[in-house]
């Protein structure tokens, strides 16, 4: 079995991976913050352009399901003492991760660009941390070695801890602690699982003739390792009922970090499900299909319903994000090509939508000084541009047919319907709730009678120890969207529209990889429940 079909002369993936860290280092040493403020987004944009090349170089000829653009270095194995531990530096992309790499490039560029004008305190440190975070995110999606993956997986946490803990709003200490303890608990069990895998197989490489995918564990052993991995990914997503860190963390995060957290890091969980849980433990995935699907359906309805009764718009968007992420899990655990293709497509859509919605929250908050829906109303009269751009994301958020999110949602539910018509029919009820809460969000803020003009908030209440408690913007903005704010929205809106008309652009590249994965799952020995064809 060949390992890759397609290699380049330059180590493209390594460059993409390390460029943000290099940029971070430079930002650290440049003399002025102003320079760092220009440099960081420039690095992120260059990295995005490079990541777009990955998509260009990703070929659909031959065995398109294999890892492409592989980049393997022997320096870890050559280190004395750990040569036999199965740790390798090995990067590559397949049909699923190639899109997540490009998505990471795009969303991080947007997030870092947003940070340059949304963050005022300690901007340089913020940018440096965001750039480090970008490296970790790329690493998660590129690593073909399980240990390497885990290193990047944990590396995401370190910048996240500071980004949330230092720049967060309100109850950020509580939120940070909850987020951290939850995630570390999950990844700790995954680490145990990784050790176990290594002890059984002697390798941690995913691909290759001796790789983990080619040699699955026996079904009984699969169960426990599967659960260990699942817990880590389910928390990151977050899957119901492990979600309770998310509303707190999301609602206290600074919005630029939130684009990374809700936009990309949650996808790392979904990606982990596809790449590791399903591919490494096909039998166990089959056995837990029903349980996880039901949890995901409950999660969809539960979070959508809670979004309906929130008054804090940031929490509202947080719950809508949870609802959509549970849909993605549902699609993955349809364990057929249609469902998983849809899930990958929906990862892109969700990332775009949720970033757009959180940006809208930031834009609204920056103009009204409040996050509470009852205090808003009629804003669209004063800021029509904000209203209409926001509306695009509202429509995408409620999966309006014709927009990108519908394509993904449709494929997911179609895949689920093939396995179990009841699951899909009940899960589809979420679209009614989604329409309801999204329209409520839009109308209660933008439409209706105008409320009293809001005066800039007084000094933020300073409780002991929270020196940096401030609204996202220091002062309220008076006018409609600024050019910078519009610019952040342009690529997102274009993506939403394009993916509604031509989702095939994504799915046909994803499909070979997923089809191979599904064959793997379907042909795995299945002692317990097994789905239909």
């Amino acid at each position: 079995m060949p390992i890759t079909t397609n290699t380049l002369h330059i180590p493209l993936l390594t460059i993409i991976l390390l460029l943000p860290s290099l940029g971070a280092a430079i930002c650290w040493v440049v003399p002025s913050v102003r320079l760092a403020r220009l440099l960081a987004p420039a690095v992120a944009i260059i990295d995005f352009i490079l990541s777009a090349f990955v998509l260009v170089e990703f070929h659909l000829t031959g065995s398109a399901w294999e890892f492409q653009l592989a980049d393997r270095r022997d320096w870890i194995e050559s280190l004395p003492g750990i040569a036999h531990l199965g740790i390798t530096y090995w990067l590559g992309v397949d049909g699923v991760s190639v899109f997540l790499v490009v998505l990471t490039g795009l969303m991080m560029a947007i997030a870092i660009a947003a940070a340059t004008f949304m963050i005022t305190e300690r901007l340089r440190a913020f940018l440096i941390l965001m750039l480090f975070l970008e490296t970790a995110l790329f690493g998660v999606f590129m690593a073909i070695n399980l240990f390497l993956f885990f290193v990047f997986w944990e590396a995401m946490l370190i910048p996240s801890y500071f980004l949330l803990g230092v720049w967060g709003e309100g109850r950020r200490f509580y939120a940070t602690m909850k987020f951290l303890v939850y995630t570390i608990f999950g990844s700790f069990l995954m680490l145990v699982g990784i050790f176990y895998l290594w002890s059984r197989t002697g390798t941690l490489d995913m691909a290759g003739p001796s790789g983990l995918v080619a040699h699955p564990l026996d079904p009984t052993a699969q169960t426990w390792v599967f659960l260990a991995f699942t817990l880590a990914f389910a928390i990151k997503l977050p899957l119901f009922p492990l979600h309770s860190w998310a509303p707190d963390a999301y609602s206290e995060s600074p919005v630029p970090f939130l684009i990374a957290l809700a936009g990309i890091m949650s996808k790392a969980g979904a990606f982990g499900f596809i790449r590791y849980c399903v591919a490494l433990f096909p039998t166990a995935a089959h056995n837990f299909q029903a349980l996880i699907s039901i949890l995901a359906i409950i999660g969809m309805l539960y979070a959508a319903g809670l979004a309906l009764v929130q008054t804090d718009i940031k929490r509202l968007v947080a719950y809508s994000s949870i609802s959509h992420m549970n849909l993605i899990v549902l699609g993955i655990f349809a364990l057929n090509a249609t469902g998983i293709d849809g899930s990958v497509l929906q990862m892109i859509n969700h990332s775009v939508i949720i970033s757009g919605l959180f940006l809208a929250v930031a834009y609204i908050t920056a103009r009204t000084g409040t996050r509470l829906l009852p205090q808003m109303g009629g804003l669209g009269r004063r800021w029509p541009l904000l209203m209409w751009l926001f509306f695009v994301f509202v429509l995408a958020g409620l999966d309006l047919p014709g927009l990108g999110s519908f394509s993904g949602e449709f494929l997911i539910l179609l895949g689920v319907f093939r396995e179990n018509a009841w699951y899909a029919s009940i899960a589809a009820v979420t679209v009614i709730l989604a329409a309801w809460y999204m329209i409520r969000f839009f109308q209660d803020s933008m439409n209706g009678p105008e409320k009293e003009p809001i005066e800039p908030a007084a000094e933020p209440a300073a409780d002991a120890g929270s020196v940096y408690q401030f609204p996202v913007f220091q002062r309220l903005i008076r006018g409609d969207l600024l050019p910078g704010e519009i610019l952040l929205y342009v690529p997102l809106v274009l993506l939403i529209l394009y993916l509604g008309v031509k989702p095939v652009t994504v799915t046909r590249r994803v499909d070979p990889t997923v089809a191979r994965l599904v064959t793997l799952v379907r042909s795995a020995p299945s002692p317990g429940l097994g789905g239909g064809p």
Binding site: T338, D341, L345, R381, F410, I439, P449, P503
Partner: protein, 640 residues
Amino acid sequence: MPYAVYLILFFPFLGFVLNALLPLNNRVVSLVGPGSVLLAFVSAAYSFNWLHGRPDTPLGRSYDAVFTRWALAGPFHLNVGFLLDPLSSLMTLIITGVGFLILVYSTGYMRGEDGYRRFFAQMDLFILAMLILVLADNYIWLLIGWAGVGLTSYLLIGYYFLRPSAVAAARKAFVMNVIGDWGMMIAIFMMFVLFGGVDFNTVFTKVHVQPYDGLIPTVLALFLLVGAVAKSAQIPLYTWLPDAMEGPTPVSALIHAATMVTAGVYLIARSYPIYQQSPFALHVVAFIGCAGVVFAATMGLANNDIKRVLAYSTMSQIAYMFCGVGVAVYSAGMFHLLEHAFFKALLFMGAGAVMHALGDELDIQKMGGLRHKLPFVYWTFLVGVLAIIGTPLFSGFFSKEDVIGAVFGRAQSGDGWDWLVWALLVIGAGLTAIYMFRLFFLVFHGDPRDRELYDHAHGPGWSMKAPMLVLSVLAVIGGYIAFPGQYNLLDAFLSPVFARWPHNGPAIVAQPFSLASMLATLLLTLVGFLVAYAIYYRRNPAPQRVGSLAPAVYRLLYHRYYVDEIYDAAFVWTTRTFYRLTDRFFEEDTLDNIVDGFGVVTRLAGGWLRGAQTGFVRNYALGILFGAVLIVGYYVIGGR
């Protein structure tokens, strides 16, 4: 050239883009808005003509222009195309033709409103979505158009988006329509799983081998019907339509009368091989229709809002169309759809002209005697009223006769349930005459009830008059494409569509003309007219006085059978309360406490263990001794 199909779609798209993105001034917008739709109409007429010139066979009269590949995921793949056949061609003509007239009317009606450009951009977008709906050759793009018209309907109902009632109405319309979308989505999933595709051709060539009247085609047809009743405002998902009158009147004319709300009828007619496979589902369609005819008409009897009366009448008339397609005489349903587009658009334009004259007054209790002030509106409105109640030789007579006659014919040929449907339709015809003439007399006859309003009333300008004139002419002559017992051009024109795919069930043929049915209908219509005449023309009373004759009934009708209140309590309030309680007691108390509980337990355990770290050597020594004793004891007693 068949590519005119693309042009039909292109011009409204262009109009939308220009109006939405460019800061055009109102004069240019007035050109771009109606102009783009006129060009679309020309393209549609050209396509119609082109299609008509093709061989008169089912395949000859059907042209599928493949446009692009939409998605590919595992076994699912879909190539999107636009299907031009007599059915879709007829619909494009109605949409662009009536749409153009209404947009011309709008240039007069909307003059001076805030958001003039926004209005035309959204109207163009609506026309585009509606055209996608009728031209799509597969159910997914039909659903995309379906949701698109729902979106534009939402936007235009909420056109005055600072007015709370408009905002609430828009939200209600949107969410109820999404319930319909849900049903459509399930139906589409079923199609793919059962037939391996969701384009019309695949579905229709395979559905007829499903068990006849079996569970599968019935469930499929009923899920499609969920979409149809939501969009067409039929029982039980109709309560959004009266509220939708919050939008500007041209919107009510185009979207909530002539085109969008009839999409459900189109959907059923289009999906005829599915419905043919399930007589049960067809009966459900007919029952929903006949119940809706009477139900909506009775609500129209007691309403005092000029536009809402028309809204209930729309619901009632669409229910007639449902009966037509529900007895598998699809051409009858489509015929009434066509004529209804003419006369109902005309009636709404008349209502709009009255509102325009009276400073947006909607309450018919404050009107009266307007025939002196607005003679043009009076006469055109009269034409609309005569057409809708089915006065002989007016267009509504032919189409309504077609529907009622079709039901009668089916009943005669052995379908016993159809007698019930027929009876309700005939009663409905009588009720229509009552509520329409009640409206007419209260608005235009008698003495003015509000002098102030009456004195300031002024007639519409030519941009409003011209479309009304054209529609009046159509409302008179539009029906002559079919003459009861003589000829039926529309049925002949549409027949290739219904011969295109194999199907079971009742034969799709126009039913024989029945004099008895026609006379019964005309008799009840006449009775209805006389009732309205006796009460509202001769006596000219205030509506409340009429109500006091039977206060309980009047209250029930006036409050619309309390259905809105029931829905609010049963669904809206229940859902919200359930999730409020969940948020408070499960999400916050239970889940968070469990999570925080872990933290507390860990801290407590840490605190307790910290107690062992006393720092005194003697304590540690004691510990070591204790441990040593345990270990030694284990080996001694265990005897390993």
